[in-house]
Symmetry: C2
Subunit: 451 residues, 2 copies
Amino acid sequence: VNPTQIIAAKRDGGAVPTDRLEAFLRGYLDGAVAEYQMSAFLMAVVFRGMTSGELDVLVRVMVESGATLDLDHVAGAKVDKHSTGGVGDKVSLALAPLAAELGVRVPMMSGRGLGHTTGTLDKLEAIPGFCTDLTLERFVHLLDEVGCAMIGQTAEIAPLDRRLYDLRSVTGTVPCIPLIAASIMSKKLAEGLDALLLDVKVGDGAFLPEEERALELARTMVEIGEARGVSTVALLTAMDRPLGRAVGNALETREALECLHGGGPDDLRQLVIREAVEMTRLAAASGELAVEDADEVALRRRAGKLLDSGAALARMRRMVEAQGGDPGVVDDPTRLGRAASVADWTAPRAGIVTAIHPRALGQAVVEMGGGRTRLGQEIDLTVGFELAVSPGDRVKRGALLARIHARDSEGEARGRNALQSAIVIGEEEPTLRPLVSHRVTRADIGVPPRD
Amino acid sequence: VNPTQIIAAKRDGGAVPTDRLEAFLRGYLDGAVAEYQMSAFLMAVVFRGMTSGELDVLVRVMVESGATLDLDHVAGAKVDKHSTGGVGDKVSLALAPLAAELGVRVPMMSGRGLGHTTGTLDKLEAIPGFCTDLTLERFVHLLDEVGCAMIGQTAEIAPLDRRLYDLRSVTGTVPCIPLIAASIMSKKLAEGLDALLLDVKVGDGAFLPEEERALELARTMVEIGEARGVSTVALLTAMDRPLGRAVGNALETREALECLHGGGPDDLRQLVIREAVEMTRLAAASGELAVEDADEVALRRRAGKLLDSGAALARMRRMVEAQGGDPGVVDDPTRLGRAASVADWTAPRAGIVTAIHPRALGQAVVEMGGGRTRLGQEIDLTVGFELAVSPGDRVKRGALLARIHARDSEGEARGRNALQSAIVIGEEEPTLRPLVSHRVTRADIGVPPRD
């Protein structure tokens, strides 16, 4: 295979024959294709996109480049969830034990926060002792024992994705939907899943803010999953405001635990239940989980009861204990680490909260030391914001809008700065995105529904 | 400067600020910008192009990356010519001495053949002893002594261009007009010229066959030259058929010498005269050459006389001698090396020669061992074709169409194969491109003519 010819074919907009693309990718793995050739190819993909056939090859070679989980001897339907990341998105922490309680096996591999969004791994590590660095063997064992387990993406999984991601991050080839979709899906498809739920955020605080682009990403990922034989459903969920009211790692962990206590903000509870129901239906459809009443309304009611009864919380406690964490924190979330300084931010005028811009808050958390600007950076898990209002609320002058959790007065000042522009008070009722605006399934990409 | 930001700016179609582009290019020279970053940038340029300002920076940094010729102490107007390359294009060999005879100083730096076109250096080396590998000092000395000198592009000139060209050739970023234009012009602008004539070939045998693309290349190069203060004129010349009747290195050298003897094919003579006149007018316009009658018709007549009188030939003899070549060959071109096997190719039917496809002939020369598929390859200078007809000629069945000069029977067979498809005999008079179809000057790119 001549690498230059492959690059030229992509540059000129033609589809690269799958066998040649595979040889090109394997050539990159073994050094026959140089980094400078791959980066030129990736830039051509930014402009030309990839066909379904090309994407399938890319994802397959990514998966085959590393270890894959063999979950065959774990009974039941294995279903994971991936979120493209948003501000205040702590769904996974409550979702995994709830879905497990509904009978789904949840082998969840998550990432760390990067940029303006936090990551599940960091939130888990806010629980003293919680270990996200298990061997794949131990991970599979816990999945079987507890019904859910949560670890970080290991270097063994899809190393080609890691190499390509590192190259993309220094060659201006990150914002490209097929490459983003392949990167996400390769890691998930290495997990040996029966099905996968994708939460694609849309709005100001999302990685891809525009609905059209978010939908394209959702469709591309569903297409990749289905092509590889994994039932995949994507939900487009609102990120025109933060999810819930806590922004920042430990604060978000606390809110997720409150949700498992039957409390927490309504939008968080709704989304956790919706996603747990989607995962249960995917599990039932796979034939690996017998569900008495797979009707959506019945499942939602059941999920709500599992949150209110403490059953999902008990599952969380088992998982935390099994992964070395302090179960006392699960029972009493107020025991989570607290920032050195907590300050109030009040309404400068009366009116309606017309917007809470999530991206500004997420970026402020990074500036306050609670997020990363580069991989591997140490962060302060305690900093962030507790919002006291939601968009649409009517407030009086001087009313509490938010609490700033900061390391020091400099961090607090950055927090105030962000809140000043992030929380908008005006006169008109805001128009907000529905919590879940779209549901993308195999039928939406032209594949007939399964029998 | 953050290389990734520069790449992203180009990817998104914005103009890169000139100071940042310069830092990026210098970063590449000193290793701060990686090859994989440059290749991604170049691919983004393929899709987004470059602004005039960006091109000017690129060309300037290319020129400044290496040695530049200082021709200030060589009296007179220094004018070079560059051809984008075509099949049978042996103009330079006759042009340099003719222009010198007209009073122009011609410091000509040429390349070797690559792909389906031959190169001036190879043609010069068909003359026994001729050395194209002079030091820059000796080159300048000969220019002053003889009035013209011809050498190869040395590694000292525009090394950034060489690095970028090597990278482009393995990353699918060669066919990109601004990058092609910058590559050509950087080498010419390092020569310390007063003016430059560009011969941009158009048609099947040209590097860029389409007229629109050839015109764009011509305009881009004129713009670059004028921005750097070098008067630049580009002619679009016909390459829908071979130039002259000889194709292949030594055969072309012989035809160029015949032209200097006052003979040779009419199209070759016309183009050599036209280009010599253009160079003389550029020299006159620079104020460094006093021309009695700068009228075009008068100059053409003068140039024709210099070919017919043997004056240009005598200048060629002086140059060949000064560069170590055998002057006897200049006087008797039949003494040039001859291929082992010479075979006739005759008309399979009567009719009109409706086309002679140059690219097929050029590619055949490569296959017959007379051209390169990679840099540095040894080639056989003697192989090629002598055409006996031109498009539009009426031929009888069995009439001689061409002679194949080959190393062996295998080469001869390849030659026959090529001629079979390259020379088309039909019924209708062909429509051919005018020898010179366009003349692009500073006025055509929106710069007012010089006073």
